[in-house]
C-alpha cells in the first residue's frame, strides 16, 4: 500500500509516496538519500538510527514513515548551518569523541535534544540523555566530555 506523506526534514518540505511498511529510517536513507542516519540493531536498542521527531529523540527504525506525516524531523545532516558545524559537532571533533563514527549521528541528536531543553546539564544528566545510544568503540568518556564542552560553549555564546 502506497501513501503520500508530507514531512519537513532539516527545514525542507518533502511530499513523497511511500509504502506503508517502510520505516522512517529507510525513508530517510533510501528515499531522501540522507545516509547520515545509521541503521544498527533495528530493534530500538542501539540508538544509531536516532533522529529528532518534533524535537524529541526517537529510534527511526521503530517508526513507520507514514507515522511521520505532517511532522518535523531533524537528522545529523541538519545540524550544521551555513557551512558551519554545530557546536556539538565541533566539540566532538576537538575532544576526540569520534572513533569509528557509527554512533556519532545518533549521539549528536540525543545531545542536541538534551541541550535544547537543558542548556546546563550535569554529567549525570548527559549520561542519562545518551543512555539509549550505544558506542561500539566504548568511547563514552570523551563523548560525555564533548557534550559538556559544547554546552559550556553554547552558554557563553548566548
Amino acid at each position: 500500500m502506497q501513501k503520500i506523506i508530507n514531512v519537513i526534514v532539516n527545514g525542507e518540505f518533502y511530499e513523497v509516496s511511500v509504502k506503508s511498511n517502510m520505516t522512517l529510517l529507510d525513508f530517510l536513507r533510501d528515499k531522501l538519500g540522507l545516509t547520515g542516519t545509521k541503521g544498527g540493531c533495528e530493534t530500538g536498542a542501539c540508538g544509531a538510527c536516532t533522529v529528532l521527531l518534533e524535537g524529541k529523540p526517537v529510534n527511526s527504525c521503530l517508526v513507520f514513515a507514514v507515522e511521520a506525516h505532517g511532522k518535523d524531523i531533524l537528522t545529523v545532516e541538519g545540524l550544521a548551518e551555513n557551512g558551519q558545524l554545530h557546536p556539538l559537532q565541533e566539540a566532538f571533533v576537538s575532544e576526540g569523541a569520534v572513533q569509528c563514527g557509527y554512533c556519532t549521528p545518533g549521539m549528536l541528536l540525543s545531545a542536541k535534544a538534551l541541550l535544547d531543553g537543558n542548556p546546563n546539564p550535569t554529567e549525570t544528566e548527559v549520561k542519562e540523555a545518551i543512555a539509549g545510544n550505544l558506542c561500539r568503540c566504548t568511547g563514552y568518556v570523551k563523548i560525555v566530555k564533548a557534550i559538556l564542552v559544547a554546552a559550556e560553549k553554547m552558554r557563553r555564546r548566548n
Binding site: M1, K3, S20, K56, N59
Partner: protein, 291 residues
Amino acid sequence: MLRKIKGFTYLKPFTVSEAISLLDEYNGKAKILAGGTDLLIQMKQRTQNPEYVIDIKNIPELGNITYDENEGLSIGPLATYTALASSPVVREKFGLLADAAFAVGSPQIQNRGTVAGNLCNASPSADTAPALIALNAQLKLVSMKGERIVSVEEFFVGPFKTILKDTEILAEILIPNVPLHSGGSYLWLPKIITAVDETLVGVGALITVDDMKNKICTEARIGLGSVAPTPIRAKKAGESLKGKRIENGLFEQAGVIASTEALPRSRAEYRSEMIKVFVKRALNRALERIR
C-alpha cells in the same frame, strides 16, 4: 531473526468509535499501533503480521493524563513513558508510576512507547505493571459490544498474553486516589550483562499507615515483575503487613513471603533471593515517602 516488514494497509481513525469499528470489521487481522516500540519489532520478527495496522495517534483525546480529586488519575492509551515520568501530578501523587515509566527502555523508547502498550504487550518484565498493580489500577476495555473494566492483575494471562480480545481496545487506565499517609515506590534490578534493557526483578510497593507516629500499617499492596509468567500481585506479602506496627524485621518477612508467591523460571534461585532484597527495599523507600 529480523526480516523486512510485510505489507499492510495503514488505517488512521480519528475517533475511538471509528477505531473499534475497524477492529470489529477486520477481526483478528488488525493490530492497534500506538508508540510502535514493541509492534514494529514483532513485525520485523514476523511474530505479528497484521493485514491492517490501525494507528490511533490521530485520536487526540487518547493522549490525555487527567487527575480528578474524586476520581483519581486517568491515563489515555497514547500517554508515553516520557509524558508520565514528567507529569507533575503523576510525580507528586503517584510517584512510583513515574519511577516505573522511567525504568522502561531508553529516552528514545520513552518518548515513543506508551504505558498502555507496555500492558498490552504483556511482557512478564513490563516495568509499569508492578507499579500499576500496587496502585490498584483498573483498565477500561472497549469494543463495539460495549465496555468492561478489569483490574490490571486480571488483565495478564501468560507471557505476552492478555484477556484483550482482537476486537477490543485498551481505552483508559484508571488509578484510584491513594489514601492519606500512603507512600509508594518502584525498584528494579536490571540485567546488566546484555545491551537490551530488561528488568530481572521489579517491585512496586504502596503502603499506608494510620498516622506517622503510630505507624500501624492499614493497607499494603505489592506488585512483582519478571518473576512469574505474568506480572503478579504478591497478595500474601501485602496482607502480612496489615494491622502491624512497622518495626525492624517486618519488611524483611514480607520479602520472604513475596518470594514464595513468585514462580521464576530462568535464574530462579537468584531471582527468588532478589525478590526478598527488593521487596524490603521497596517497602522501606515507600515508607520514607509517606506524607
